[in-house]
């Protein structure tokens, strides 16, 4: 059986991702279309929230992936720091703009939903505030990659930044439990049937979440492939200049 570390080899990674990418992209498109269509057109209004309940099919999956993208970056950053595999550092770099976009979607849809339901676009609630800080960490992370010329040094520095930012990624997930205050409600999904949302909202939400997860995987694969090619391009151009 082959070791997972074989895929840290750029050539092996390109082979595998080239095969997998079209399937993941197709599945992502299918799940997103089905999940969002089902949620938007085929589900009833909530008795308290009215039609704004339809925003959960965007808000919950994007918020979930905003945090999970950072956790994925944390894992790949640790792999870079410990094992010095370039593909893992490039995968973390590739994931950052995707995670940042999901964070913006979560913040925007949350604000749009909050206005009619809470009577305000924004409050300095623990979960919302830690989510905003997570977004600023995303921006800082992307800027740091751009600012440092040497790619290995950039990977080192951004990995350390990623470790620090993980505190806010975790905080934005568990802030509701840490501080029993603020407007944001607890988790939408629960294993407890009593606490979980009604099945009529739950199943389209699951399909929508699957769509966002697959979209994230597809975009990270695509962008990591671009980063690997860009790295090779820089190396070849540098070699040409030296010759």
């Amino acid at each position: 059986m082959s070791s997972m570390w074989e895929y840290a080899n750029p050539k092996r990674f390109m082979q595998l991702s080239g095969t997998v990418l079209p399937w993941v992209s197709g599945l992502a498109a299918l799940c997103l279309i089905v999940g969002l269509y089902w949620g938007f057109f085929l589900t009833p209004d909530d008795f308290r929230q009215g039609s704004t309940v339809k925003i959960i099919y965007l808000h919950v999956p994007s918020a979930l992936m905003a945090i999970n993208a950072w956790i994925m970056m944390l894992v790949t950053s640790l792999v870079w720091l410990i094992r010095r595999h370039h593909v893992s550092a490039l995968a973390a770099r590739a994931a950052a703009p995707v995670g940042a976009t999901f964070t913006v979607i979560a913040l925007a849809t949350g604000a749009i939903w909050g206005q009619p339901m809470w009577g305000t676009w924004w409050v300095w609630d623990p979960r919302l505030t830690s989510f905003l800080i997570l977004f600023l960490f995303y921006l800082g992370y992307i800027a740091l990659w751009e600012a440092v010329e040497d790619p290995d040094t950039a990977a080192d520095l951004t990995s350390v930044l990623c470790l620090v930012g993980s505190v806010f990624a975790l905080m934005s997930r568990y802030a509701v439990l840490f501080w029993n205050q603020g407007l944001h409600q607890g988790a939408t999904l629960s294993l407890d049937k009593e606490e979980n949302i009604s099945d009529v909202f739950y199943f389209p939400l699951l399909v929508s979440i699957a769509g966002f997860v697959l979209l994230f995987v597809a975009l990270v694969l695509l962008r990591t492939r671009t980063e690997i090619r860009a790295r090779r391009l820089r190396a070849l151009i540098a070699r040409e200049r030296m010759a």
Partner: protein, 52 residues
């Protein structure tokens, strides 16, 4: 057919428009970058090995 969104139609529709627009822009930028880098790499590799 469009569902009746009642008094929250603006909020629901704007949430969908903003989110889908951001997703489409992200996909297009990622795809475009991928194509540009791929073409440039191919060009440099061809220059290095014109017969290959």
């Amino acid at each position: 057919m469009m569902p009746d969104l009642g008094k929250y139609a603006t909020e629901v529709l704007s949430a969908y428009v903003v989110s889908l627009a951001l997703i489409v822009v992200l996909v297009l930028i990622s795809w475009r970058q991928s194509q540009v880098v791929r073409a440039r790499l191919r060009e440099v590799e061809r220059r290095r090995d014109p017969d290959g």
